[in-house]
């Protein structure tokens, strides 16, 4: 009985590991896209080669598990009651910055300001003690980065 139970546990573990591995592969299949930084100022080209979807970008900005831009920034999203006070107000980000400048600031704002609080949303390396679930992964996918860029460029 005991042996049978432990076998069950073992099987569950193997299954679990299999699923975890599958997920890991799934995430890794979203391969890290190389990009070119122009003059430490911008990333001119879309990470996906396509324009993002501004409506989806707005959702990413709201979602606490994804962009969570609202944690630190004020955005013209009146249905969300809480907007953070840590970063600049982004209500007119689309007039202040070009798409390329916005893209660089989302991908890795530390290139522009090494001391910034803001995380690099598209940098899976060079980090300290990342917990297991997030190791080797970017906060946003390339597609989500493009969606947020597309959303922010609409803010004029």
């Amino acid at each position: 009985m005991v042996a049978w139970q432990s076998l069950g546990v073992l099987r569950a573990l193997i299954c679990g590991a299999g699923i975890a591995a599958l997920f890991a592969t799934g995430a890794a299949a979203e391969e890290f896209v190389a990009f070119k930084i122009v003059d430490n100022e911008s990333i001119a080209k879309s990470l996906t080669g396509k324009p993002g979807d501004p409506a989806r970008g707005r959702e990413v900005a709201i979602n606490r598990k994804q962009g969570n831009c609202l944690a630190c920034h004020k955005l013209p999203i009146p249905e969300q009651p809480f907007h953070g006070e840590i970063g600049p107000d982004l209500s007119t980000a689309g007039s202040t910055y070009s798409a390329g400048e916005l893209r660089l600031r989302i991908v890795n704002p530390k290139i522009v300001n090494p001391d910034t609080f803001m995380p690099a949303f598209y940098r899976p390396f060079g980090l300290h003690r990342v917990s297991k679930d997030f190791q080797g992964k970017t906060i946003l996918t390339a597609e989500q980065v493009e969606d947020v860029v597309a959303y922010l460029t609409t803010l004029k």
Partner: protein
């Protein structure tokens, strides 16, 4: 002495309540503000503060009471209670809560109150160490630290404690996790700012162990460290690890002069 300190804390609490809910930078926080250091109390909601102000309403006092009972309870092969050696905690433990963690020669490193309690248990009482975050260890820690309530935090960071203080400081400024954030990003650079629905505080440690409304129980400072580390998607250290005890010393010094508030009540 303790009664006087308590009365002073209670009175300043009352002043705060009378001052009303409009909190500006000019609010007089009494003992809860020392120079530019502000206790988490000053960032808490009015209702939360009023729970802390009243010992009969403060749920954490149940842990303190349990600690008092355990203080007098004989345990272990040596047939001793804490009181067998330390007698009246109000006298013998009057300072402990304000000066720990301390450098401990036999181990060549820092120990905090939890670890001192367990050392007493294993070495002097010949009893089993209590588990981290157990009801017993939280209660005894809260009880011991409560004896210093109202006293200004005054840890020693020179001499043999100095290198450990430096390690704690290094931890505080080290970015970590997928979100790549250091303690200082929130608690030094942004105290007083909203991070979405939450008001960031200076992250002072003078009220721990603390009753957290979110936890619905008393929790240790190291539990809070683990929570913070996980939130930035970093692998936390173990409660009681050297890393966290060193950080504990750095934080205590950072809040030097703030009164011990244990057991505080926080969000």
């Amino acid at each position: 002495m303790r009664r006087i300190a308590l009365a002073a804390v209670a009175a300043s609490g009352l002043t705060v309540m009378l001052a009303g809910t409009a909190l500006s930078d000019e609010t007089d926080w009494g003992a809860y503000e020392v120079g530019d250091k502000r206790s988490g109390y000053t960032y808490a909601a009015t209702e939360t503060r009023s729970i802390q102000d009243d010992d009969f309403e403060n749920p954490a006092m149940l842990w303190v009471d349990t600690g008092q009972e355990l203080w007098d309870t004989v345990e272990g092969e040596a047939g001793k209670a804490c009181a067998s050696c330390h007698d009246d905690a109000a006298v013998s433990m009057a300072e402990v809560g304000a000066i720990y963690p301390v450098y401990y020669e036999p181990r060549g490193k820092l120990i905090n109150i939890e670890q001192r309690i367990n050392l007493c248990r294993t070495e002097n009482m010949k009893a089993k160490a209590w588990k981290w975050e157990s009801r017993e260890l939280l209660s005894m820690t809260a009880f011991v630290r409560n004896q210093a309530r109202g006293r200004p935090v005054a840890v020693k960071i020179d001499g043999p404690a100095a290198p450990f203080y430096e390690k704690g400081k290094e931890f505080y400024y080290q970015r970590r996790g997928q979100l790549d954030m250091a303690c200082k990003n929130c608690h030094e650079d942004n105290a007083g700012n909203m991070i979405r629905a939450n008001l960031l505080s200076q992250g002072q440690s003078n009220g721990f162990p603390t009753y957290r409304l979110k936890w619905q129980k008393v929790g240790s400072l190291h539990r809070r460290f683990r929570g913070c580390n996980s939130q930035v998607r970093a692998t936390p250290y173990k409660a009681g690890s050297d890393e966290y005890v060193n950080l504990e010393l750095f934080l205590a010094d950072r809040g030097r002069g703030l009164p011990v508030e244990t057991p505080a009540v926080r969000n």
